[in-house]
Structures are given as structure tokens and as C-alpha cells.
Amino acid sequence: MTAIELRRASRWYGNVVAVNDVSCALGPGITGLLGPNGAGKTTVLHMMAGLLQPSAGEVLIDGQAAATDSSIYRRLTLVPERESAYGFLTGREFVRMSARLQRLPDAEEAAARAIRLVELEGAQDRKIATYSKGMRQRIKVAAALVHQPDVVLLDEPFNGMDPRQRLHMMGVLREEAARGRVIVISSHILEELNDLADNVLVMIAGRLAASGHYRAIRRLMTDRPHTFMIRSSDDRRLAAALLADASVVGVELSGNGNGGGGIVVRTSERSTLTHHLPRAARDAGIRLLEIRPTDESLESVFSYLVER
């Protein structure tokens, strides 16, 4: 059974630590590598692909160091994040080139099968330079899967894809995973991994901050203190009404508190507050003007995970 293992792997560039002491073991199925931009996801994928040597620790594929020799690429592939592809080639030429460099006996047939897989038959004879971002992603996936490798690493594969293409690609990856392949997908959007990744690794600032099933990670991210900015026709009365709710842990008045300035509400459970707030406002005869979460950026969610 093919498996990827990182043993206290670190990678630094001069004084900049990109990946810091990461250990994990991945087996068949889909693993999501989640984290904000600059978290070290691409560096981890490049180390797994043998394109980067770890500065410390080990990265093993089936017990062998990833960066040994080029024969590993018969079993392993990487779809890089950058849109770059040979723009002067047609989609079919690009995938067929990959098949030939993999020494497949019938490169033409293998390329046709891979292009069918990503549903690009209609555009296969167009130059890649004329492709949209989503089409480029799909042709890159076709070229990477043409030799049916055991390990598939994908760096932000859904970038630029429309919802239909995204769903189709998720289906393709699920089928590949069902065949026993090891698939690692990096993403900075948790929802992208919904119903896709059996296992999610959360990376923040080069470190592995959390790992587990998608639903467990989702729960970690939602069941945390949230802060909302609320503007209403009577902020002072609304604040008093909200304080009666057990889920509200604090309310601060902004401005003079007579309406217009708004209130900042901290809650331990977002869902309870969002149910209670409209009811409380209606009972008190207060008109709600604006409700805005102030800490919903991905960075703030990840910061919370780090602080846990």
C-alpha cells in the first residue's frame, strides 16, 4: 500500500522557515492540506514530490526518500498551482507529450482517455494559450493522471474552475481515490474539501496546527467565540436585550450608543446568537440596520486554531 510519511520535516530558505517540524502519515484516499496563503502548503507538496529536499527531517514515499531519482515519477505526480503550461501546444499535444515521457505503450490512447476524464475533448485541438484558467487546470490534471500514478499531489486544483467543473473534478478525484490512490489536495478554502477529503491537515505559518476528519475541523472552526458588529435603531436597548441571552459573553457600545454607532457583540455560539438576535430585536421593537461578522477572515479562523 502506497503511503507518504513526513518525519519531523522542516524546510527553510535562508532565514525564512517555510515548513517547521511537520510529521504526518498519509495513506490511500483523499487528504486535504488546508491553510492560508504562505502557510507552507506548496513547500510540503514539493517536498512530497521530491522537488525539494527537506532541510531537516525526512519525507518518505513507501519508506523511500522522496527526492532520490526520477524513477519515482512513474508512481507519483504533482499538479502545480501555477497556470503555466506550454501555451504553444494544443491540449492533446501536451497530454500526449506527458504520456510519451512516461513511456506508455499507447500514448495516443492514454492521452485520449485522460482528456475524456476531464471532459476537454471539445477543446483538445486548441492551443493551451487560448484556454481559460479552469481549462488549464483541467488539462494539467489530465497530463498528470495520464499514466495513472499511485500518488497524486494537487496544489490548489480548483482555482479558476466554475462550480460545475469543480463538482466534476471532485467526482474524478473521488473515483481515483476509490481505486486506492493516495491523493493530497491543498486548498485555502475549507468548503472545497467538504465531502471530498477524508482527512484534513491544517497548516499555519509552516506548522501542522490541526488534523482530523473534515467535520471535526469544521466544528473546530465554527464552535469558537465570534464577534459581530451590529447597527440598529436603538443600540443601547438592543445591547440590554442581547445580554439576557446566555450565548452572549459581552457587548460593547460603539460611538455614543444612541443609535448609529453600533454595538460589538461577542458570542460563544454563533448559531444561537443568529437565532436569538432577530427575535430579541422584534420583541423590543428595534430595527436592525446592519449585522457584520468582524472576525470571519480565514486568517482569524486560523489564528484561533493556533491559539488553542
Partner: protein, 250 residues
């Protein structure tokens, strides 16, 4: 090693070299000497009679002196520079193909493409001005020198493309300063000039039939220094590509 892999690397390298208007630029460079020859023939009454001196001067100053290094810069720096700049090198590194093999084929294709551009650049003006004093041996001797020059220039520019992201600018600076100015005036620089080596090979083959260069560098210098330049250029490129690590920019 599969022949199919080698053929694919050659095919990809050639397609890459002639992409992005480089085919048009190469075509333009290859036709310049013919245009000059046509103008010469229209303006000079005894063009056939003085064709020998004209063709030798054209080969020395324009074809070997300028077009050869410019074409080699164009193709040599693109062979790897293009892949690194566009981020497409990853598609080659992620294949079960030895990196030195990728370098070798890219180099060979760059040399062949450079030499191929020199063929019409030499033969077409010869066809325009040829007379009894210009047998086919003259352009063939020039082409032999140009082939050696292509191999040496491309080795250097290939390494430049692998080592710096400003390979085209650095390459052009080298051509203008070293090859076009210093090697023509400083004797010591001649011993490391691919232009002088190309001239020496052509002169050796021409014999006494034409005077391409007054004091050509010796054949021994051409072979020793030429081999050294070739090995260092290709070797540095292989070293760089074998040690290549995918940074974020890839």
C-alpha cells in the same frame, strides 16, 4: 532509454524555440544577408566579378560577426530560460527522465536550430553573387565554421539561461562587448572568442582561395579552448538543472 522519450524531448525543444514569434525573428535574421547581397548586385555594375570579396566580407562581418551570436543568444538562452521563466520546467522534472538527458537534447536542438538559420544566411547571398571565383566550397567552408560557432555559443548561452533570469540581456551584452568589440581588437580575447574560432575553422577550410581573417587563431587553440568552453557550458547547465529545486516561483 526509449527512443520515444528522446524524440519527444527533441520535438518539444524545437517547438519551444520557434514559439512566441521566434520563428519570425529567425526567418528575418536568415534573410538579411540575401537582402544585402541583392542591394549589392543592383548597385555594383561588376557584381559577379567582385562577388568573392563581397561574400567573404559579408560572412566575416555580418553572418559570423553578428547574426551567428544573435541567433545563438535567441535560441541558447530560451532553451532553459523559457522553461524557468514560464514555470514549465516542472513538467519535465516530474517525469521519469534523467535531468542530464533533458539538458543534452535541449542543447543539441539549440545548436541545430542556430546552424539551420545560418544555412540560408550563407547560401542565399552566395547564390545572388556567385561567379567563377566562388565555387560551392566557399559557402560550405563558411558553414563548417558557423556550425562550430553554433556549438560553442549555444553551450555558453544555455548555461546563461539556466543560471540567470536575465540571460537574454546578459547574452546580448556579451555579444556586443566581447565578440563585437574586444575580440576584434585585443589579441588575448581572441583565444576565448567563439567568433574567432568560427573564422579560423572557415579560413582553414578555405585555404588560400579567400582571406577571411588575417591572423586566425591556431587550430590547436580552437580545439582545446573550444572543447573547454563546450564542456564548461554544458556541464554548468547539467549541474544547475540536476540540483534544481522547485522554489515558489516554479
Amino acid at each position: 532509454m526509449s527512443v520515444g522519450v528522446d524524440r519527444t524531448l527533441i520535438w518539444l525543444s524545437a517547438r519551444q524555440l520557434f514559439a512566441k514569434r521566434r520563428a519570425l525573428i529567425a526567418l528575418g535574421l536568415s534573410l538579411i544577408p540575401m537582402v544585402v547581397a541583392l542591394v549589392f548586385r543592383m548597385l555594383v555594375s561588376d557584381a559577379r566579378g567582385s562577388g568573392g570579396d563581397f561574400l567573404i566580407g559579408l560572412a566575416r562581418d555580418l553572418v559570423i560577426g553578428a547574426l551567428l551570436p544573435l541567433t545563438a543568444v535567441l535560441f541558447g538562452t530560451t532553451a532553459f530560460g523559457g522553461d524557468i521563466e514560464d514555470g514549465t520546467l516542472l513538467y519535465l522534472l516530474l517525469k521519469p527522465v534523467a535531468r542530464w538527458r533533458v539538458v543534452l537534447w535541449k542543447y543539441v536542438v539549440a545548436v541545430v536550430c542556430t546552424a539551420a538559420v545560418m544555412v540560408p544566411a550563407t547560401l542565399l547571398p552566395w547564390l545572388v553573387v556567385r561567379g567563377p571565383d566562388l565555387p560551392i566550397q566557399v559557402p560550405l567552408s563558411l558553414l563548417a565554421g558557423l556550425a562550430v560557432g553554433s556549438a560553442l555559443y549555444c553551450a555558453g548561452f544555455l548555461a546563461l539561461g539556466a543560471w540567470t533570469r536575465r540571460a537574454l540581456v546578459v547574452g546580448l551584452l556579451y555579444v556586443v562587448t566581447i565578440e563585437m568589440v574586444l575580440s576584434r581588437n585585443l589579441t588575448g580575447v581572441k583565444a576565448i572568442s567563439a567568433r574567432e574560432f568560427a573564422l579560423a575553422i572557415s579560413q582553414k577550410l578555405l585555404g588560400n582561395s579567400a582571406a577571411l581573417v588575417d591572423k586566425p587563431v591556431t587550430t590547436a587553440t580552437v580545439w582545446t579552448m573550444g572543447t573547454l568552453m563546450l564542456v564548461v557550458g554544458v556541464g554548468l547547465t547539467i549541474w544547475k538543472v540536476r540540483a534544481y529545486e522547485a522554489a515558489e516561483r516554479l
